[in-house]
Symmetry: C2
Subunit: 120 residues, 2 copies
DNA sequence: TTGATATACAACCATTTGGTTGTATGGTAT
DNA sequence: ATACCATACAACCAAATGGTTGTATATCAA
């Protein structure tokens, strides 16, 4: 009996939302110019409903925001979340950079005993 | 009859791989210190096989690399792909920054006719 | 050689995903 | 008033995901 509690935190949602080419394309388009869901939908070889669902996924991740204007829903990007995602990945990259630094430190010291005191 | 061709390009795979807390944690751990799959598996409240599958997802995305050493598979991070993912997100953020710039240009010019000549 | 350890992999299962069509509803324009 | 958008949403479907258990195989240690 698998539980699947919560269906994930915001970080999960951000990365999941970006893991689809159509959704990434939607983000690029609305970053350049806000537009209605139906205008977006014209661009893709899939039903309006399918695009609606992609927009909903981006909305759940807070990468975009919808605002009703008359009979249309206008989609705008949410730069804060895009920045958050960038910062997240930069964090990972920094972790790697530190590790690479410590490797080259060890190498430049000569022969190594890298494994000695480590534990977690 | 849905086709699902290719099951996605590398970008899809990278973001999908990062859309799971366990997998992100694995990346952090192996970035800090390479280690075997079974060592990783001790950390998580799930079966060895489940962890094996998470590692396989990260491997498909080239975020990590496996190397057999005796009876163990040693997992290392692949900094190139992490860097690629960072660059991807920075690209999105730059797109937004440009747009914000052009908005403030328009605002500082006074009254607008923003929508005039645009098309795609 | 025997046993323990590390991995591989098949089979299975529930849930999620990504798409569809069909129907209802609300705003716009004539 | 009527017709035509744009959207919402339910129901359905196939495939993918994320987990499990069970079994097989290869390596290491005694």
């Amino acid at each position: 009996m698998v539980v699947y509690q919560d269906v994930s935190n915001e970080t999960d949602r951000i990365f999941h939302a970006l893991a689809d080419a159509t959704r990434r394309d939607i983000v690029v388009r609305v970053v350049q110019r806000e537009q209605s869901v139906s205008t977006l939908a014209e661009r893709y070889a899939m039903s309006f409903t399918a695009v609606q669902k992609h927009v909903a996924v981006l909305e759940r991740a807070h990468l975009i925001v919808k605002e009703r204007r008359g009979r249309e829903q206008i989609v705008r990007s949410n730069p804060d979340t895009l920045r958050k995602a960038t910062v997240l990945l930069q964090h990972y990259e920094e972790l790697w950079r530190d590790r690479a630094q410590s490797i080259s430190d060890i190498l430049s010291q000569g022969v190594a005993e890298q494994e000695k005191g480590e534990e977690s």
